[in-house]
Amino acid sequence: MVDSVFIGLSIITVGSAILSLESRELLYGGIALAISMLGIAGYFIILDAPFVAMFQIAVYVGAVAVLIIFTVMLVRAPNTVTKKETRKRKIAGILLGLGFLVMAGSILGNSTVTQLKFNENAPVFDVQAIGKGLLTYYSPVLIVLALTLASAVIGALALARREDIEERNEPTN
């Protein structure tokens, strides 16, 4: 049962990952990326990490995908299959990708990792365990992370802000 779900998820994830890079329209690429993220969330659910899966959906589909699609609509790229994408570069890219795949795959296949098995009886970590970890040992990291996020949002706002509009709007308010 799980295996068929796994194969289906794999097809969806890898297929839409390829589509997100190769689709003709950038918007479809964005949608495909969101579907790929959903597929990854599906893997998380299979791996007994529902909290992370929901977090993934909320962040990637609810925020990142919206941001990306919004940017795609905003920049209105004329034609996304750019002329500068030469054949040589493409072949090199495919070779590089395949090379990495073969190399890492063969290393993985010959390593002892293949002998590792999931422990069926291992305890499943629920939200409490994660929360405890976040708030005790990793609490400084959490704070730093919060600061990072805040500064990133502020930075993005500062970057995308338009000065001319701000100046004009202030007197009317």
Partner: protein
């Protein structure tokens, strides 16, 4: 002074009715019965009277009605039934339909009108059916230059996403389609799909007004998502669980709304904004941007989005009830047996009428109280629509980003104070469990 059209012939009229009957009969024998048989071969069937029911024996229920009870009992506990009929889509769609009708009648009453009146003799109760049929037969106009796949898929996505939220809402103990351990987060994660759908649909219809409407929908939903999350946070602290069933069960002593009134208010306001209902129906403000992101919808596409938004209404009302109004808890008012003494008697008909083996007083009571509370919340949402004008986008954003977020924090700190002061929470004066 109505009169019939000049080319009316009584013979034609009778002929058309006869033809209709014939067509229906032919369809039933040639299509519907084979399909039922075909389905029955693949559906696992229960054991009745000591033998496994086969598709051929299935129709013996027609002769012996008492055999239906075990079958019904079997089907009621299958996942398919739960997802499609009772706590899931069918039930929610029924409530959505009832909500649309009640909304129209209530608003009409408030506005000194009569509302739907003619369809279905009694106060127009079949108006929705008539509207649905009309929408079904309407031509679907796809604007030229639109992005066709997204344009067709988005309404369907809208309905299915709304149904996914509905699937998370428990109506009684154990009566929920998907009992996820992180149900609350799941609900919020799925609600995050809606801005994406609205944005994609508005973009795909290749028109200016929908695009402005889509942007407004995006702004509005993102601005209200944060107070929406935050207002549910103290509930999680109080019940120390993310599972919706657990949250509802933890309120058997008192409802959360007594301790979290401000958060309940914020949640209610945010869910109104999330639902795009008046006073927050800016994405569909017809006097500014025609119909917002729904401008180019026609026929059943519009119907689907309407259905989806009312499903969402039910889902959010249910969520409100689960989070703040104690879910299904309430005094037991249903008797232990539907007809006293039916269980012991051996009359099959009496047993069937008393729904012996099916009737569970606790569950029925839970569903009853849940429904009562949900209906009250829905009515409140409907009345709000009657008395309010639409507000402006900048006021809305200001409300969402500044006022509501601050309000949620006030109540969050109160709850924390109570917990650390040892009044509530684990080991407190008032034990929740």
């Amino acid at each position: 002074m109505g009169s019939l059209t000049p080319d009316f012939r009584f013979g034609n009229f009778v002929g058309s009715i006869v033809w209709l009957v014939f067509v229906v009969l032919a369809l039933v024998t040639l299509l519907i019965l084979p399909i039922i048989f075909f389905v029955l071969f693949y559906v696992p069937l229960p054991e009745v009277d000591g033998e496994v029911l086969t598709p051929y024996l299935f129709f013996s229920m027609m002769v012996d009605p008492s055999r239906t009870l075990p079958v019904v009992q079997f089907f009621i506990h299958t996942d398919l039934f739960r997802a499609a009929i009772f706590p899931g889509f069918g039930f929610a769609a029924l409530i959505a339909a009832a909500t649309i009708f009640i909304e129209r009648k209530l608003l009409a009453k408030m506005q000194l009108r009569v509302g739907p009146l003619y369809a279905g003799k009694v106060e127009g109760i079949f108006q929705l059916l008539a509207d649905g049929l009309k929408l079904l037969t309407k031509e679907i106009i796809v604007p030229s230059g639109s992005d066709k796949p997204i344009f067709w898929l988005a309404p369907i996505m809208f309905v299915s996403t709304a149904a996914a939220v509905v699937a998370l809402i428990p109506v009684a103990d154990g009566w929920v389609v998907a009992d996820v351990s992180v149900g609350l987060i799941a609900a919020f994660a799925i609600l995050g799909f809606f801005p994406l759908i609205a944005l994609l649909f508005s973009w795909s219809s290749n028109s200016k007004y929908p695009f402005i409407g889509g942007l407004r929908a995006l702004h509005q939903m993102i601005a209200f998502e944060i107070p929406f999350f935050l207002s549910a946070l103290p509930v999680v602290i109080l019940s120390s669980s993310l599972n919706l069933t657990e949250i509802a069960r933890s309120q058997n002593l008192f409802m959360n709304i007594f301790i979290l009134p401000i958060n309940a208010f914020v949640f209610f306001i945010s869910s109104l904004a999330e639902l795009e209902r008046i006073p927050f129906d800016l994405p569909e403000a017809e006097s500014e941007i025609v119909a917002g992101w729904l401008t180019e919808t026609t026929g059943m596409l519009y119907g689907l989005i309407q259905l989806g938004s009312y499903l969402k209404l039910y889902a959010l009302a249910g969520l409100f009830v689960v989070l703040f109004l104690g879910g299904w808890s309430g005094p037991q008012i249903f008797p232990p047996e539907l007809i006293p003494g039916a269980h012991d008697s051996n009359l099959p008909l009496l047993q069937m009428l008393a729904l012996d083996g099916l009737y569970n007083p606790v569950t029925v009571n839970s569903i009853f109280w849940f429904m009562i509370k949900t209906i009250i919340v829905i009515l409140l949402m409907l009345i709000i629509r009657g008395i309010n004008p639409r507000i402006r986008i900048d006021i809305l954003l200001h409300t969402g980003w500044y006022k509501l977020i601050v309000l949620t924090f006030i109540n969050l700190f109160i709850v924390l104070m109570l917990i650390y002061g040892g009044v509530i929470g684990p080991g407190g004066l008032i034990s929740i469990r």
